[in-house]
């Protein structure tokens, strides 16, 4: 470390103090630099090897965890009132309108289970994209020929949390500031090629879209395409739900936590007729939308899978 710094100091000195007597030193430093770069290349190779080893170990760890830890799945099905959500089906909403959803997506992150002492055990790298949507072109500013296949993803599962007694669950809707502020940072399922970064002026914020909803509104007030996005750091929300009764988890046993996401509650809270478009330019409505997403989750059950 110390040597490294003094090399830099010397380089700096060489660069700053002027003229003729330096040529020899410069040649010397150039040679040193070449050695340094060769060493760097070697270090890079080692890093490669370490990375492969790390990945192999992570795989082995996951396999072991599945034996030692409980297998917990979190189901977050979209529903509209009492029914499972069907895309493009007209559901009645306030004011004699109907709303049919084309697409609903959000980042579910920071999953943690709550211990009886109200401390939390985090799922590492817990960044998941929950979605119900048809096939769509990958759009990044401009439409591309690449298609993202139709997806219905309403469950995640993890084996990283040790056996024990748990009384509740916590997760976030949106992406924490550290990752939201730097799109080059990858973790879990976070990625820029998921149509969750650049629509509707989001590039201005250079961050993720946290929730994205598209729907057709019809009724006495006429037809409109509802487009609701939010996603600045202020729009991050925490959902915290208590289990009906504590669960006692054991190694290699499967448990299911079922939390329904009721889009009827969401529609009631946001009122599509009053707010057809929510996006980068409507911070107040974005915040209201974030609250409505947080409040649409209802815990149904948390128990061992029979």
């Amino acid at each position: 470390m110390r040597r490294a710094l003094s090399l830099i100091a010397i380089l700096a000195t060489a660069a700053s103090c002027g003229d003729n007597d330096l040529q020899a030193e410069i040649d010397d430093l150039t040679a040193q630099l070449a050695t340094t770069e060769a060493e760097l290349a070697q270090t890079a190779q080692q890093r490669d090897t370490f990375k492969q080893e790390r990945d192999a170990l992570a795989g082995a760890l996951a396999a072991l965890e599945a034996k030692v830890n409980p297998v917990i799945s979190l189901e977050v099905p979209f529903v509209f009132g009492a029914e499972a959500l069907e895309l493009n089906k007209a559901y009645p909403v306030a004011g004699g309108d109907t709303l049919s959803f084309r697409e609903v997506r959000y980042w579910l992150t920071g999953v943690a289970l709550e211990r009886p002492d109200h401390s939390f055990v985090d799922v590492p790298d817990g960044y998941y994209l929950v979605e119900a949507r048809p096939e769509q072109p990958l759009t990044n500013g401009t439409e591309s020929a690449l298609m993202l296949p139709a997806t219905r993803r309403e469950a995640i599962s993890f084996t990283s949390i040790p056996s024990g007694t748990y009384v509740g669950i916590r997760f976030h809707i949106g992406v924490d500031p550290a990752h939201n502020d730097d799109l080059s940072r990858t973790a879990g399922e976070l990625h820029t090629l998921k149509n969750m970064t650049s629509d509707n002026g989001w590039m201005w914020f250079t961050s993720y879209i946290f929730t994205k909803t598209r729907a057709d509104l019809a009724g006495p007030g006429g037809a409109a395409v509802v487009s609701w996005d939010n996603g600045s750091n202020d729009d991050l929300r925490e959902v915290h739900l208590a289990f009906p009764s504590a669960i006692e988890t054991a190694a290699a046993v499967a448990y299911k936590v079922r939390v329904k996401a009721d889009l009827e509650t969401l529609a009631d809270a946001v009122a599509p007729r009053q707010r057809v478009v929510i996006g980068a330019g409507t911070p107040g409505d974005r915040s209201l939308l974030a609250d409505a997403f947080r409040d649409m989750f209802v815990l149904e059950s948390a128990a061992a899978v029979p």
Binding site: M1, R3, I8, A15, D182, L183, S184, T192, T206
Partner: protein, 336 residues
């Protein structure tokens, strides 16, 4: 001399990290007492970045910066609007060199000392260099490219694959790699070798004429409230009373910083630009409305919210001093 200059100027931050990582345990280098660690050490401390720079990363970023495959028609590179010979600006008020030919909303600023900037763009809308990079690439009036197609093209080129492998071993050609490499290159654009800098460091070539010294005193007294520190910017946002606030006929005059913060106090405010390299970066202001420094000073002298009273002599001295902030080596070093 040139070689060492490159190392220090373009890679001071980077080299520190690279060398620190690699040189542990190597002998023979510590013969002379250190004079200073980097050329830009009279600048305020740079904010921490998450992705450490490497020479290979900066080199990849430099390639990408000049690579037209980052645009949909494969003809526009970052350097189309950020020309090294103009200290990375483009010489027009508002560029129409993008893929659609439409005139952009803002003046393309020079790119230098970005490692010190935390809120990019005239209104500070972009949070960091990594993330902002996707902005111009995807913008329909700038490069109009999709990230997916860009990656496909780069990954098909063995030279690029090799450059990515050197910069980010084991990662392949990824959007995250493009973002990090360009950000590393942009952070390496350090301009700290103007006559004024040499003056501050007491080096040969740092002589300032009397008029320039008088101009420096005026700038310190009357401009440094905003054009602060050796960066000559407080990196904050101010309304300096430009009238009309925007050159765009249909732009909401409330824009400016308020576009991002939605606060009334930030309406019409833009980020204070540095006063370095102004000879290369005309025209001036967020919409390039002033062609010359004399016009800029005439604006301040008219009074108003950021008015500055200057005698004719003081104005001449200020302009003389501003020329001493040009860094011809920076411009020459980064030319291709």
């Amino acid at each position: 001399m040139t070689h060492i200059r490159v190392v220090i100027g373009a890679g001071a931050l980077a080299l520190a990290l690279v060398a620190t990582a690699v040189l542990v345990g190597r002998g023979g280098a510590a013969a002379r007492p250190p004079r200073r660690v980097a050329r830009a050490d009279h600048f305020p401390p740079a904010p921490a970045t998450r992705s450490p720079a490497t020479r290979a990363g900066i080199e990849l970023g430099r390639r990408l910066f000049f690579d037209p495959r980052l645009s949909a028609n494969d003809r526009i590179s970052c350097a189309t609007c950020h020309e090294p010979a103009r200290a990375f600006s483009d010489g027009v008020a508002r560029s129409a060199r993008g893929i659609s030919g439409a005139t952009l909303a803002r003046n393309a600023p020079g790119l230098a000392n970005l490692a010190w900037v935390e809120r990019l763009f005239w209104d500070g809308g972009a949070k960091n260099l990594e993330s902002m990079v996707l902005g111009p690439i995807q913008h329909p009036d700038e490069m109009g490219e999709t990230v997916a197609r860009m990656i496909e093209q780069l990954a098909a080129d063995p030279v690029m694959r090799e450059a990515f492998a050197r910069a980010f071993p084991g990662e392949g050609v990824t959007p995250s790699g493009v973002m990090r490499a360009l950000a590393q290159y942009l952070r390496s654009l350090v301009s700290a070798d103007s006559r004024y800098d040499r003056h501050v460091r007491g080096e040969a070539g740092g002589e300032l004429a009397d008029a320039e010294l008088r101009g420096l005193a005026v700038v310190r007294a009357k401009c440094a409230r905003c054009h602060a520190t050796e960066l000559f910017t407080d990196r904050a946002f101010h309304d300096i009373g430009l009238d009309p606030p925007s050159a765009l006929p249909d732009e909401d005059p409330r824009r400016g910083r308020a576009r991002v913060t939605f606060r009334a106090a930030d309406e019409r405010a833009f980020r204070t630009p540095s006063l370095r390299n102004l000879s290369y970066t005309a025209p001036y202001m967020h919409d390039g409305r002033f062609a010359t420094l004399a016009e800029v000073l005439a604006h301040y002298r008219r009074g108003g919210v950021a008015g500055v009273a200057l005698t004719d002599d003081e104005a001449d001295d200020v302009i003389a001093f501003l020329r001493a902030l040009d860094d011809p080596d920076f411009v020459a070093r980064h030319a291709r």
